[in-house]
Symmetry: C2
Subunit: 399 residues, 2 copies
Amino acid sequence: MSFEEMWAALLPVGRDEATGGYHRFAWTPPELECRAWFVDEARRRDLHVEHDPNGNMVAWWWPGDGSRGDAVLTGSHLDSVPGGGAFDGPLGVVSAFAAVDALRERGAALTRPIGIGAFAEEEGARFGVACLGSRLLSGAIDPARARALTDGDGRTFAEVMHNAGLDPDAIGPDDDLLGRIGCFVELHVEQGRALREPVGVASAIVPHGRWRFDFGGEGNHAGTTALPDRRDPMLPFAGMVIAAREAAERNGTVATVGKARVVPGGVNAVASSVTAWLDARGPADEAVRRTVKQIDEAARVAARPHRVSVDLAEESYTEIVDFDLALRDRIAGTLGGAPVLPTGAGHDAGILSARLPTAMLFVRNPTGVSHDPAEFAEPADRLAGVEALTAVLDDLACG
Amino acid sequence: MSFEEMWAALLPVGRDEATGGYHRFAWTPPELECRAWFVDEARRRDLHVEHDPNGNMVAWWWPGDGSRGDAVLTGSHLDSVPGGGAFDGPLGVVSAFAAVDALRERGAALTRPIGIGAFAEEEGARFGVACLGSRLLSGAIDPARARALTDGDGRTFAEVMHNAGLDPDAIGPDDDLLGRIGCFVELHVEQGRALREPVGVASAIVPHGRWRFDFGGEGNHAGTTALPDRRDPMLPFAGMVIAAREAAERNGTVATVGKARVVPGGVNAVASSVTAWLDARGPADEAVRRTVKQIDEAARVAARPHRVSVDLAEESYTEIVDFDLALRDRIAGTLGGAPVLPTGAGHDAGILSARLPTAMLFVRNPTGVSHDPAEFAEPADRLAGVEALTAVLDDLACG
């Protein structure tokens, strides 16, 4: 199976034919199909698939017991945002299989295990917390909190895991698995327009987080309720959306409201409540914190005249992640001076950096569009990514 | 079956136990259960149920052929808004059965047919056009346009009718049915706080309509897309929500955004499009038209700096409806001087007023809340409503 054959096999899974967008949410049928594809590709290469207690998978290339603690992990994730692109996640997993094939073809002599990882719920599209699989694995989230997370239909993470045949009581840090890994190198499509060459190396992930605003008003008839009698939560919600943009401009950050739930959602009914999610990121913790604080204050000011309540909850927050300097320099050296750049996107490599040396390779994205069907990497750049990952694995695992 | 027994039987159908809100959308299982209840209640009284081609039902009390054109129609609708209350619609249908029972108990001698109607998709909660059943029956909507209406899952009205065993090609004006009806009196829960006595009579329905705004931007990554590169449709949508309130205040109207769809709806994705529905009503056509025009202008101004497109479509519009003066005076006389008041809510009686003399009875709503689980009428007021409707039917059909 060449890179392009593997790519073509995954391409239709979970794709909405009308929009071209992907809907691969953790443990839904399309994501389970991606998992089955992963297991098949591993079996085809005689790689042993390890399922950790948190829904993550690792396909191991190593004849021995791999207990020396120096394994080289690569891979990425298979899930998507709602209506996302084909590349975010799967590019890193497909490239990892292709790099293993390339190493085998050139008869590379492995001196350390190579693992290909596929992390669960990286996008947080189903349960609201990004990188849930790697957070659980590395102890970055309390298992009890994770079990209680709910999806859009009100099903808990525990319930969904149980229905997928997993044991929700077993989730949490897996020090045995982490102890076997020496470093993690994740290849990923670049998600902005900063990378001008086919392949780059990550320097850092800027601070980023997600917050949930709940606006509570009073449902009522849209025709018969006089304006002064209304407690309409849509109005402060709208004020919050506008305040988010203004606060981001003021603080040199980005702030986005891309998801909102209006209850009950009838055309002829004043809403009773609106829940909206804020994504905010910036170059420094302080700027992000100040952005969120200003948005919260503006939301409360907008809510008061309408007698609407405002609740703000932090769903996740990740401080700045500087990738391991020695590993980054070694990779940049292997790649002959590839550009080094930061990213505004969170990744499993960022979460796992708290426990392991981690690094990332980025593959150029000509338009910078991501989390959208237009997300893209040129075929030549994909192959350049595989070649770079092959060289890096050769250096790290065959030295 | 007493009024309260019928009421209790309908109460659990389509109720969300968590919120107490009703979800009875046209031809979904809970609404089909309401239809089955209607047919059972008719059968229990030996009333013949007529199914018109548009999904409306009429239960006839009349031994003859009913072709004299003087039948008295009463009833209302059984469907609900999303998360609506128990009273809006069903109160009129249950009261109609109870009024027929009362007439029979007192041995009233019918001189004209009495029909109990249940109109389809009055709320427009599934296909977006309110009073769809009565609009089709009376020729107020083009059948081809109705067939092409889609629900939230993209299914057309034609498809849903077909799946319900109906013939979508047969929909449209039914002049035979209309020709048999002399007048229509709809009992309905009042939806504001204007009615201080148990029962009132409607004078008019103020002008009202629904408009759909489509904001088209570009989906992108919430972390990696710089603010100036964004084409975020949430921002002009928020501007439109705020502009709607301001325009309503300026023009002495009401304007409500109670439903919005954000695509793709990911927390970490700039939306690619937002669709939002505007409900606007006011004392005069001109004020409503001016309100919508000002909101549209504000939306376009808000959209321009973000390079977002704005499309505005009118989904429905109903000019002021003055109920038949002679019928209203006769009813008010029968009820001994009940208060006469206008309403901001649309009703099938408003649509049918273009073809027949129509009138409405309102039953007091202590809080004025409607389209919400808190919608209510006191048990004593419900019985006062039945008594009033009984007296009106006695006067109109037994004279």
